[in-house]
Symmetry: C2
Subunit: 339 residues, 2 copies
């Protein structure tokens, strides 16, 4: 992957990467669904994540070496503990977030879980403003709320008229989870952009800690279970199929694309890519799993598309067509009359 | 009612009238529902419409006389057959539209009828452009589509996953009906604005023909039925209650407000008022008829509100907050690297 240039070219590169990320995220959903048997993973999903982290680390180190060979001076690498430590945080957030989502799911049903998950769209905007000090225009805020409305509309269930009737704790963990998710995105953007370091070098550090944390997490799980299923390392490829390896490859690819987006675009691009991916997945599911297209999906896609247009519209585009007043139609009252 | 002045004051007057129209339209739905017994009208609804037309005619003639007494020169009244004939058309459209809606309902269920009815939002925009030659900005078009999405979202039914599965004829009459409805609005705007005539004088002509058409329509109905129920004139107040008279008063008031809007504002203001009224009615119904608030209603209201903001926002408001880039975060790639 190449860093984009300036102006229009950068815009086109970002758009292309965002589209690929959307498709990759969408296939992630489809692949994981397809890799399940009777709705369950037969393989160890933690191992899949570990393998993906390892693959990302390997690719980043390879690209870093190539970059150093070709352009030794251009490949900036800050080597200091103070900076490296920053790359530990995403792994910590990942573990924390997983635990919060687990608690969250204890209080709400999967439909409500999915619907409240959309709150990350607005929390990302908020933290983007608060932590990265980036001001969004009124129109961009409206667009984000619109994306939230569109994404949620597409998920309105069939017969459960009492959607969103969760206990207070459910809402609490839902909102907490949305803020964690937003914080993870905004923090990544911060560490990727805070200096001129090579993306590959930043990735190498990020995934290095990712591998360690996932290795530890799998081991801790086994210890907690009293090695009931044995040690994960000895059974790690148990029930792996070609589909499982596709999930690994997809997870790794998506992760690398997100890193690129955080460095050269921003968290909002990621929010759009993942929300659009959700809609693409729903449309593809209709064809793949023979589902019925619902009106709410159609309306959700319309809403999300409008949001995308509003967010990335140039201000000039908004008023150009406001033409001259037509002939013969006075716009203000022709005369003042009184009752 | 007084004609608005120019600029901000006119804007405020229009907003106030639009709000009153919204509330009046909303109570119209609630009053007619409340006036039914076991879901049926016990009284003759045609008589209610005739009485409302008569009331509007009486009020308009009264206000016209008062206006002429106070400001004889300011009360412009074009008296020519060529102009008066134009006021016959709305009555003709009304009869035609009623018949089309009757056919439309033969092919689709009430839920689909209601949902397809929202198409008038976009058809009004189209005819507004085509017949009144008024250009809408891209943002205003987006806002109208957004209003369509919001209104439709609020109406998504519970368990019928197969919404909008109507025969082709159903869609045909739905679209035809939406165009008729839009044409009626745009045509009214045209005749009200084409000259400087006093609103009261225009109303007097409009409702004069309204009274005649409704009188004839009731009589024709009786003839068709072979006077099975007797002649309507002798039983016109049959089963009238206080609630029925409220419906008459409300229908008359709403009609007068719409005339004002067509003369001093435009068809789009009417579209917003009626769409918002639908949402207000749904919210009030929850309290009045003990219904459950649905997520789709909430999302629909959010969508429609966003639409309203987008449509009536000044372009300056949209980009002001686009602040300076923050410290420490380069927006373009710090250096070009290559793979």
């Amino acid at each position: 992957m190449t860093a984009p240039g300036k102006g229009a070219r950068a815009g086109r590169t970002t758009l292309a990467v965002a589209c690929v990320l959307t498709l990759a995220t969408s296939s992630q959903g489809l692949l994981t669904t397809a890799s399940k048997v009777d709705g369950r993973y037969l393989y160890n999903f933690g191992v899949v994540v570990l393998l993906a982290e390892t693959l990302k680390l390997a690719i980043s180190v390879y690209l870093l070496q190539k970059s150093r060979a070709q352009d030794p001076e251009g490949t900036v690498m800050t080597k200091e503990v103070r900076t490296a430590v920053l790359f530990v945080v995403p792994s910590v957030i990942y573990v924390l977030h997983n635990n919060i989502q687990f608690l969250f799911l204890k209080y709400v049903d999967p439909a409500t879980y999915q619907i409240l998950g959309n709150l990350k769209i607005v929390t990302t905007g908020l933290l983007f403003r608060v932590f990265l000090k980036r001001r969004l225009s009124k129109l961009k805020w409206i667009a984000l709320v619109m994306l939230l409305v569109g994404a949620t509309t597409s998920q309105i269930g069939g017969c459960d008229g009492h959607a969103l009737s969760a206990p207070v704790a459910g809402y609490f963990f839902g909102i907490l989870s949305a803020f964690m998710s937003a914080f993870a995105a905004v923090y990544s953007e911060y560490i990727m952009k805070r200096n001129n370091d090579s993306l590959y070098w930043q990735n190498a550090q990020l995934y290095f800690f990712g591998v360690i944390f996932n290795f530890l997490s799998l081991t801790v799980q086994d210890i907690r279970n009293g090695f009931h299923h044995g040690f994960w390392l000895f059974t790690m490829f148990h029930n792996f199929t070609g589909m499982t390896w596709l999930v690994v490859a997809n997870l790794a690819g998506t992760g690398l694309l997100v890193s690129w987006v955080m460095k050269y675009a921003d968290s909002i691009v990621k929010v759009y890519a993942t929300s659009m991916a959700m809609l693409v997945t729903m449309v593809l599911s209709i064809y793949l799993f023979n589902l019925v297209a619902t009106l709410q999906l159609f309306l959700g896609i319309l809403g999300a598309s409008i949001s995308l247009i509003l967010y990335y519209m140039r201000p000039e585009d908004l008023s150009v067509a406001e033409g001259p007043e037509p002939l013969g139609l006075p716009t203000t009252a022709p005369r003042k009359t009184s009752t």
